[in-house]
């Protein structure tokens, strides 16, 4: 089973939405990864007076650090945390959703009603609750909190997709042969959920970035001194009218990245909608 056949690549190439999204996502990700080496100044170097146009082209921030350097420096952690959180949320959510759909009956009912309760709880509130309780949040805590808050939403979607698949004859056929339940899920059900789940993952990544940036903005970043897109918005908001770039630069980067991942998710969904 090879996904990257020439025919498939051509089909992906014909999807302008998907290609645009992919390019944007890759460019921003690259910027976050190699940014620290390209930055003209260190992330904590004082290059001039606060909120002036000294330093490189985007001016200085509230401590007189270079905004452009901090934008280049501050992406890595936020993207890494977002991607990990998305992965965690997807895995947990898919497990819950697929198991509920496959087992069915009262167990399905029970799981999904509990899931509804979890859904009713605002995503960011749980994160804030835990983060305010601990002294110094470490990065894995943010991954865990953001990931867990995604799980109920992913579970809903994956249960819906799986419901349409568990009733198909090839699943029944595997059951009749006496395949183990785990194998039925892994070999018969999951591979047929690829496309909608990929689209969902793209959407979740978008939300993750928003949430991680939001947590940073609210001051719960793991390292208060380090550059972080979310935290930068908070740090520089007082001078929005005097030196707007301290806020605008991270906002624009986050915005573009979100648009990119969303376009990608949409493109995958469209491709899947046309039939695999």
């Amino acid at each position: 089973m090879n996904v990257l056949t020439p025919a498939n690549l051509r089909r992906i190439g014909n999807q302008r939405r998907l290609v645009t999204g992919l390019v944007i996502t890759v460019v921003i990700a690259l910027m976050a990864i190699v940014g620290p080496w390209l930055a003209p100044y260190g992330e904590n170097d004082i290059v001039g007076k606060p909120f002036t146009h000294q330093g490189s082209w985007l001016g200085t921030d509230y401590l007189g650090q270079d905004v452009w350097s901090r934008v280049l420096d501050g992406g890595g952690s936020i993207l890494l945390i977002s991607v990990l959180a998305t992965l965690l949320g997807m895995v947990v959510g898919i497990m819950i959703g697929v198991v509920a759909a496959y087992i069915g009956g009262w167990l399905d009912e029970g799981i999904m009603r509990l899931n509804d309760v979890a859904l009713a709880f605002p995503q960011i509130l749980l994160a804030l609750l835990v983060l305010t309780a601990v002294d110094q949040p470490s990065w894995w805590m943010i991954v865990l909190l953001v990931g867990i808050s995604h799980a109920p939403r992913v579970a809903r979607v994956s249960r819906g997709v799986a419901l349409g698949i568990v009733s198909r004859d090839y699943v029944t056929s595997a059951e009749a042969l006496g395949e183990s339940r785990l194998r039925v899920i892994l070999a018969e059900v999951l591979p047929n959920m690829n496309a909608p789940l990929l689209a969902e993952a793209g959407l979740r990544l978008t939300y993750s970035i928003g949430m991680v940036a939001g947590i940073g903005f609210l001051g719960f970043a793991t390292n208060p001194g380090a550059a972080d897109w979310g935290q930068m918005i908070n740090e520089n908001r007082l001078a929005l009218l005097v030196q707007p770039w301290g806020v605008l630069a991270p906002v624009i980067v986050i915005g573009i990245f979100t648009v990119g991942t969303n376009l990608m998710a949409d493109g995958i969904a469209q491709l899947a909608g046309r039939g695999d």
């Binding site: 009749a176 006496g178 070999a187």
Partner: protein, 595 residues
Amino acid sequence: MTLTEEDVEAGCTVSGLRVALTGRGLDVVDEINLELRPGEVVGLVGESGSGKTTAGTALLAYARRGAFIERGTVAFEGVDVLALPWEQMREIRGMKIAYVPQDPGAALNPAIRIGRQIVELLELHGIGTAEERLAKARAGLLEVGLPDDDEFLARYPHQLSGGQVQRVALAMAFLPRPKVLVLDEPTTGLDVTTQGMVLQTVGELCRSHRVAALYVTHDLAVVATIADRVAVMYAGRIIELGPRDAMFRHPAHPYTRALLDAIPHLSRARALTGIPGRTPGPGRRPSGCRFNDRCEYVEDRCRDTEPPDVQVGPDHTAKCLRVGEIGSWDINRGNTTDTDPATSRDIILSVEDLRVFYGHKEVVHGVSFDVAKAEVVALVGESGSGKTTISRCVGGLHKQWTGELTFEGRPLGKGSRSRVSEDRKRIQYIFQNPYLSLNPRLTIQQIVSRPMELFGLAKGSQARDRVVELLEAVALGPTVLNLQTNRLSGGERQRVAIARALAAEPDLLVCDEITSALDVSVQGSIVALLENLRKTRQISMLFVTHNLALVRSIAARVQVLNAGELVESGFVVEVLDTPKHEYTKRLLSNSPTVA
């Protein structure tokens, strides 16, 4: 047939029609010449992909998205319908040239009452006053054999049965008194008794109202029942056209003959044969005669020369270069004998007092029968008779039942998970729809080798060799090994499903309507394949079907089911030739057949 001037006026003549795919210029149908005469039903038969529906809707100057009518004329009342501007065409559609779709449920608005929908149709065309419209609606319903009281008019479409919905659609098609009627598989999906009634209604209405009807279908038996003339389509051409009796007694084209060889008869058991290969779609059709790559009489010139229409009898033409050279054809070709009721039977599966439930509802009420070694037992009945339900219990797919299922002396567990591995291996279930029963993500090799791995029959390269062997046994060959199922046609997929079942080396195959989603020529070859497997591997089969003619050709014994009860059972020759129960008689008399 002599035509009066009035008749010529009223009919409809299609000539030189060509419908092509937008942009690519490939033809979907081409060179369609067809005359529809008043009061006459012309059956347009073809397998899937032959272009029959495209040809049918072109009469209404309609082509589906992605296709367009490239050239040709449809002469109707002295004008060419295809050349009319759409405003005028709209006047004609439904009023003078009407269309009855395959799925009438989709054509009726579920939120509007039946009476209102019929009246609305007349309003749309501005016919009569309010009272007249209502009176007409009632008269229309009476014509198709439905009640015309207020209670019926006030029903919603979901409160009618499938046959009633189809007859409402017919009533609506006939109400504006059209001159030409295109019926697109209107009885597909209906039970035989309902189908019988609908066919009779269509025939009577067309004849009494002098309507020129085109009946599009894949079912030769239906055509034999209703049509006056028959046109056979293959790969976008009408390859043979003639009066019904001539077509069924003296078919001239090799394709028509092969089709007739593939269909089962109700009165005789036959050794069915399929047509090798598959119907080529637009762009894959060979040059010269379109049938040359599958024809048993092919010569070199068939590959270069496109055959013209050759007159083979009065009103009877065929597009074949070799007409007259290929001998005559006999409808009794391939007849065999029924299984002798005196044969001794070595029982391997017995079903005792089987009662099946869905929730608290009992749907099968105490059914008992048995299956012997190397014997095919058919379960026959209409939808809702419980035939598939029983087969699912035997296959271990449905758990809510009581009674005794005994396989080789051992009682069988309820669901597959409560059965021992040996029983799961020896009873294999084949599903109705091959498009749903194979995992689209796996390759054919993975699908077919899985049961071997699971039951520990073969592994690795040994399993691969066995897969190749099995694929050859089902006439597929090793070229498909690494393909996914989306590259295969319906018939090929069903062969893969059969190969998967055989991989477990079963003693009993439970076949649930396994040919009903397939074309007749494919059905013929699948039936031949099963018969061969039964003889060579001594496999027993429980064969679920609604098609009595098919039962005659494949089964030794038959169990007739009605509403969850067994009404008659016995050897096929006894049940079909001397039916005792009223229900069996009714089924038999309504089953369309060519002989």
